[in-house]
């Protein structure tokens, strides 16, 4: 799951740095991801994992780190 998340971040996150250099707990917004790019990340994650983020998850905090994304996806896939 982590590799897929990172591939999507690399494609849609518009980072000024290599995504591989970002740790699991690093703040993705501080690393350069814009809020609008995070929306694209969310939609690409939905396509890839065949899930839909509920309205309660449609906020920046859900996508603030690789770990947060993994946690949200695990919750959705497990539910």
């Amino acid at each position: 799951m982590d590799e897929t998340i990172r591939n999507i971040l690399a494609e849609h996150g518009r980072f000024p740095v290599d995504v591989a250099s970002i740790s699991d707990d690093s703040d993705l917004f501080q690393a350069g991801m814009t809020s609008h790019a995070s929306v694209n990340v969310m939609l690409a994650l939905e396509d890839e994992f065949d899930v839909e983020f509920p309205e309660s998850m449609l906020r920046k905090g859900t996508f603030e780190s690789v770990a947060a994304i993994r946690s949200a996806l695990s919750e959705l896939i497990g539910s």
Binding site: T34, S35, H36, V39, M42, L43, S56, L58, R59, K60
Partner: protein, 151 residues
Amino acid sequence: MSAGPAIRVGADIATVGEVSESIARFGGRYLRRIYTEHEIASCTGPPPAAAASLAARFAAKEATIKVLRPVGHQPDWRSMEVRRDPGGWCSMSLSGHAAVLADEAGIAELAVSLTHEGGLAAAVVVALCHEASTAREQEEGLSQTRADGTR
């Protein structure tokens, strides 16, 4: 320190091209997750013009978050809605957690201004804070007075 109303200001900028790309890539799903029905209906015209209007609204939502100053739980995008008056001007309407944050900050009035030019869109949001923030300012002023040993 003045005991008058406090003012908060938020500003943000968005790239029209990124909004166009998101619409091309994800279509209506992108629109429905971020914008309210009213906002989508307000952004009509040729695709570049519609994308510019949507980008300005996205910037307005970001500017509103800066005004609300959330800690932890962030408001979702659709809880901050740009309402377009038939006269052409816009206002910001809050619901859900965004409205709760505004109440906690004592925000009594919100004003928003949108613009777009040359591939960029921007928004400025101004909030006028009444009771809660004014009372807090007065309390902080009293605390400072006590700390100084003055009356």
